[in-house]
Amino acid sequence: MSTPTTELVDFDEALASYDPAMGLEVHVELNTATKMFCGCPATFGGEPNTQTCPTCLGLPGSMPAVNATAVESAIRIGLALNCEIAEWCRFARKNYFYPDMPKNFQTSQYDEPIAFDGWTDVEVVTEDGTETFRVEIERAHMEEDTGKSLHVGGATGRIHGAEYSLVDYNRAGIPLIEIVTRPIVGAGDKAPAVARAYVAQLRDLIVGLGVSEARMDQGNLRADVNLSLSPAGSGTLGTRTETKNVNSFRSVERAARYEVSRQAAILRAGGTITQETRHWHEDTGITTSGREKSDAEDYRYFPEPDLVPVAPSREWVEQLRATLPEPPRARRARLQQEWGFSDLEMRDTVGAGAMGLVEETVAHGASPQSARKWWLSELARRANEQGTDLASLAIAPADVARIQALVDEGRINDKLARQVFDGVLAGEGTPDEVVASRGLAVVSDEGALGEAVDRAIEANPDVAAKIRDGKVAAAGALIGAVMKEMRGQADAARVRELVLERLS
C-alpha cells in the first residue's frame, strides 16, 4: 500500500511509453416501481428505513421473488447493446460480510448473465473530425443494491474511524443492472475520451429506453473505471486499478487520465502497480488508494436456491427488440441533419442532455435553433442554479415551443420571454396564462410608442445628432431609453424603425 500518489508523468509523455487498457463497469439503477426481489417501493427520498419489508431487510425466513419488469429492462438494455440474451440463466449468491448488506450475500448473477457478447460504437472528437471506437460488452447482469451506510464521526467519512454508522435499507434491493465492457485496448491517448463517450452514450441509451432516471449526480448511474498500462507495443495487459463511483462524464475522463499519469510514474520508477480499488476525488482531481483487491477474492458464488431460473422465451425477446428506440448514434445523426446543427452545436446539445428536449420542442412547432437557444442558455442556467438537470425543470417542451411562438408573433420579446419562463417555472400556469396575469404583452400602440420615441430624442439631442449624421449604430442608446420607459414591453425592432424614421 506504499503506492506513491503524488508523482505524475505528463499524460502525453506517458502514452509515448505505455499502452492503456480500460474496462468500464457501469451500474444502472432501474426505475421500476418496486424493488428487485420484493414489493417495496423503489423510489428515492423516503424517510430512512420506511421502504422495507422482511425480504429486503434479509430477515430470517424471508424469500426473494424476481421483479419481472426488472428482467424486461435488463433484456432491453442488453438488446440495445447488441447483446445475446440468455435462454436460461440463474441468479447467484455473492457471499461477503458487510454491515449494510442485509443477508451478508448479494443476490446477483455470476457465470450466467442475462445478456452477453454485445457492442456499441462511440465517437470521439479528434484533430481531423471524429473517430469511431467499438466498445465490446462482455455482459450485463441483474443484481440488487445494498443498504446505504452513513458513517458518523471520524475524519474520513469511511467506516474505519467512525464513531458509529447509520444504515438506510430503503436502497437495499433496488434493482441494478451492471454492464461490463471487455478490455478497451488500442485507443491510445483517446482512451479517456472513449471512456467518457461510452458512459455518455450509455446514459443516452438508458434514458432512451426509459428504464432509469440515469442521474449520475444521484447515483442512478455509477461508473467504475478499470485501467492498466503495459509497455508500448507489448500487446500484454498490465496490473489494473479499479477507480470506484466516478460520478460524471467529465470525471470519467479525468480519472482515466489521472490513472495513466499516476501509473506511468510508478512504472517508470521501476515500481509495480498494486491491484486495488481507488477512490476518485472530484475536488482535487486525484484518486487515492482504497482496499487491496486480488482476483483471488473469494465470493463463494453459487446459484441462488430460492429463485427459479430466468428463461425468457425467444418470442418475448423479439417483442422487446421491436420496442427498442432508434440507436443513439443513428438518432443523433438523423436529428443533426434534420435540424441543420453544426457538429459543435450538436455536441453541446447532446452534452447538456437536451437532445430529446429539443426534439420534443421542435415537434411542438419551434424552430430547432430557437429550441436549442432556450434549452442551452436560459433553461440550462436555471437548472444549474437549482442544482438539477434540464429534464427535471418544471417546464415542458410544449411550453418552450409556445413561448417561442409568442415571440415569433411579436406578442412578447426575448426579455419578456424570460419573465414568462419565470412564471411557468414558478407554477403560475401556461405561458399564455403567465403573459396575461403578469401583463407582459409588448406595447403595440403606435401612438404611445411614438410619443416615447419623441421624448427619447428630445432628452438625448447629442445622440439624435449623431444618428442624423449617419451614425446609425448610435440608435441603440435611444432604443434602450424607449425600452426602459416601456418597461421592456415593446418590440425593439419596431422602436428602431420609429427612431430611424424620425432621424433620417
Partner: protein
C-alpha cells in the same frame, strides 16, 4: 375444565375426531385448546417439546374460532383444532429462535406463509416446538435450549431436527404439529416417536418464513398421530404461494380423499428399494418393515424390488449441498440488527467485524459451526467443482434413479430410519454416526420427491417404535396418503387399535381431561 359429555378425553382424540366434535357442537375450541394447554403444563416438564407456549394467543384464537362456528361460518374443517409449530417458522409476535442462542429474543414482525395459512384456517397455535439448532441434527440434542425427550422412553432421543413437534404429538400435547424436513427431520422423528410425518413434494408447501437451513432441500409438512390428520393439515398449509418462487403453481393433489380411500390396494405397484435395508438396519426395524410389506401384498399390492445405486452417494452429496447453502444462509446472523449481540472482551472500541465475530462465536453451537466451516470450504474457489459441483451431479443421478424406479413402481418403500430411538448422548460425539441415521430419508430431499413415515409397530428387541417410509413421484403426494392410510388401517386391525396410546408412554399416568 369439564370433560366432554361423550367419548374419550379430548387430548386422546385425533384431529379429525376433534373437528367432528366441534362441528357437532359437542365441544368448543376453547375446551379443546385448554385441554392441550393443560396437558402441556402437566407433561412438558419431562418432555421439553416446547420452547415457547402461547396460552393466551391460543385461547384468543380458540374464542374467535368458537365465535365463527357459532355464527355458522367456520374457516375450515380444522377450524378450532390447535396446532404446534416448529420454532424454525416465523410467527408474528411470537419468539422464533430456531433452537439457537443467536436468535434469542427475536420476535419476527411477520408470519411464515404456513403460519398465516394455519391462522386463516382457524387453528389456534399452542406454541413453538424444540429443534436441533437451525434444524441441524437428528436428535434435537443440538438445541441450544436443551434436548427434547422421547415420550416412549425419556432417556432416548425423539429424533431430529423436529424432535419437539414429534414428541409434542406423541405425548398428546398437541393433536397436530408442523415440522420441516431437510434430510429427514419430519420423517425420522415420526418413526422414532410412533407418529406420522409427511415431507411434501419440494415446492408443495411454501417456504416463505421458514428460516432456511438448505433452501433447495427444506420442506415444511404435517406431524400427526394419523394419516388422515396429516392429509387434513397438508390441505391447510399446501398450495402455491407467490412469495416463494420455488412453490409449485398447480393445485394440490386430493390428499384427504386419498387418506379416506380404504385398504384395497389392488393394482398398486410397490417398489422395495434394495439399497435401503438389510445390512446396517436394526433387525427389529427390518422385521417390522418386512411384515408391513407383506400386509401391502395382502391388500392387493404388487411388490417389486427396485435398485437405486446412486443412493450410495446420497449422504456424501447431502453433506456438501446442505452445509454449502447453510453457510450462506447463516451469514446474516451478524448481530447488526436482531438477535444476540456479544461485545468482544478486551477490545476497547470494537469494530463491526469484531462484534460479528464475537457474536457468531458465542451464538452458534458446535454442530452449526461445523457445517458453516464445511460449507464455506465446499464453496471455495478451486474446490467448488469438486465438491458442490459433484454433489449437484449426484443429485441428478439420484433423480434418475427415482425416475427409473417410478417406472417400475407407483410408490417406493423402505424403513424410515435404520434404528429405533437411540439414547440421549449416545451419538453426540460421533457426528458421522448421527448423520447415518438419515441415510434412508435424504434421497427424497435431494430429488424433491414426497415421503411419509407411518408407524409400523415396535421393534422386538427394545419395544420402541419403527417407521415405514413411503415415497412417491413429485406432485403425487396423494399416493403417500393412499398407501399410508391403508397400511395404518391394516396394522391397527392387527394391533386392535392405534400403536400410539397414552398407556404406552413413559409419562405421568394422571388421567388427562
Amino acid at each position: 375444565m369439564s370433560a366432554p359429555t361423550s367419548g374419550r378425553p379430548l387430548v386422546e382424540r385425533t384431529a379429525a375426531e376433534l373437528a367432528e366434535a366441534l362441528a357437532a357442537g359437542e365441544t368448543t375450541s376453547v375446551e379443546v385448546t385448554q385441554a392441550f394447554l393443560d396437558r402441556i403444563a402437566a407433561v412438558d416438564g419431562e418432555v421439553h417439546a416446547f420452547l415457547h407456549v402461547d396460552a393466551e394467543g391460543a385461547l384468543a384464537a380458540a374464542r374467535a374460532s368458537d365465535e365463527r362456528r357459532a355464527a355458522g361460518a367456520p374457516a375450515s374443517v380444522l377450524d378450532g383444532v390447535p396446532v404446534a409449530v416448529k420454532d424454525v417458522l416465523a410467527t408474528e409476535g411470537l419468539p422464533t429462535t430456531c433452537g439457537s442462542r443467536i436468535l434469542e429474543g427475536w420476535v419476527p414482525p411477520y408470519d411464515a406463509t404456513v403460519v398465516a395459512r394455519l391462522k386463516q384456517a382457524g387453528l389456534p397455535i399452542l406454541g413453538k416446538t424444540n429443534m436441533d439448532e437451525f434444524a441441524m441434527g437428528s436428535s434435537t440434542e443440538h438445541s441450544a435450549y436443551g434436548p427434547t425427550h422421547n415420550p416412549w422412553d425419556l432417556d432416548r432421543i425423539p429424533g431430529g431436527s423436529g424432535g419437539g413437534s414429534a414428541a409434542a404429538v406423541a405425548a398428546h400435547e398437541a393433536p397436530l404439529a408442523i415440522g420441516t424436513d431437510t434430510g429427514g427431520s419430519i420423517r425420522q422423528p415420526g418413526a422414532v416417536t410412533g407418529t406420522v410425518g409427511v415431507k411434501p413434494t419440494y415446492g408443495g408447501v411454501s417456504r416463505y418464513g421458514l428460516v432456511a437451513m438448505a433452501n433447495s432441500l427444506d420442506q415444511a409438512g404435517p406431524v400427526t398421530r394419523t394419516v388422515l390428520d396429516a392429509a387434513l393439515l397438508h390441505e391447510v398449509i399446501g398450495g402455491h404461494d407467490p412469495l416463494d418462487s420455488t412453490s409449485i403453481d398447480q393445485p394440490l393433489p386430493a390428499v384427504v380423499d386419498a387418506a379416506r380411500a380404504g385398504t384395497d390396494l389392488a393394482g398398486l405397484r410397490v417398489g422395495v428399494i434394495r439399497e435401503l435395508g438389510g445390512e446396517g438396519y436394526q433387525p427389529g426395524v427390518q422385521q417390522r418393515f418386512d411384515e408391513a410389506v407383506e400386509l401391502l401384498v395382502q391388500a392387493g399390492a404388487e411388490v417389486v424390488e427396485v435398485s437405486c445405486p446412486s443412493f450410495a452417494h446420497a449422504l456424501a452429496a447431502y453433506y456438501l449441498v446442505m452445509p454449502s447453502e447453510a453457510s450462506s444462509n447463516l451469514a446474516r446472523f451478524d448481530a447488526m440488527r436482531y438477535g444476540l449481540r456479544v461485545l468482544p472482551e478486551g477490545v476497547d472500541s470494537p469494530s463491526a467485524e469484531d462484534v460479528m465475530r464475537a457474536t457468531r462465536d458465542a451464538g452458534f453451537g458446535d454442530e452449526v459451526k461445523r457445517r458453516i466451516i464445511l460449507g464455506t470450504y465446499a464453496l471455495s474457489s478451486g474446490y467448488y467443482d469438486a465438491y458442490y459441483g459433484s454433489a449437484q451431479k449426484v443429485r441428478t443421478l439420484i433423480s434418475r434413479d427415482f425416475a427409473a424406479a417410478f417406472e417400475a413402481a407407483d410408490v417406493l418403500v423402505s424403513p424410515t430410519a435404520p434404528t429405533t430411538a437411540f439414547k440421549l448422548g449416545e451419538k453426540l460425539d460421533d457426528p458421522l454416526a448421527m448423520y447415518l441415521n438419515d441415510v434412508a430419508t435424504i434421497p427424497a430431499n435431494l430429488a424433491g420427491v414426497p415421503g411419509i413415515s407411518v408407524p409400523a409397530g415396535v421393534a422386538e428387541e427394545d419395544g420402541l417404535p419403527v417407521g415405514l417410509q413411503v415415497l412417491a413421484p413429485a406432485t403425487a403426494d396423494d399416493r403417500l396418503y393412499r398407501v399410508g392410510a391403508a397400511l395404518e388401517a391394516l396394522l391397527e386391525q392387527r394391533w386392535g387399535g392405534p400403536l400410539l396410546t397414552l398407556d404406552k408412554l413413559a409419562l405421568a399416568t394422571e388421567e388427562p381431561a
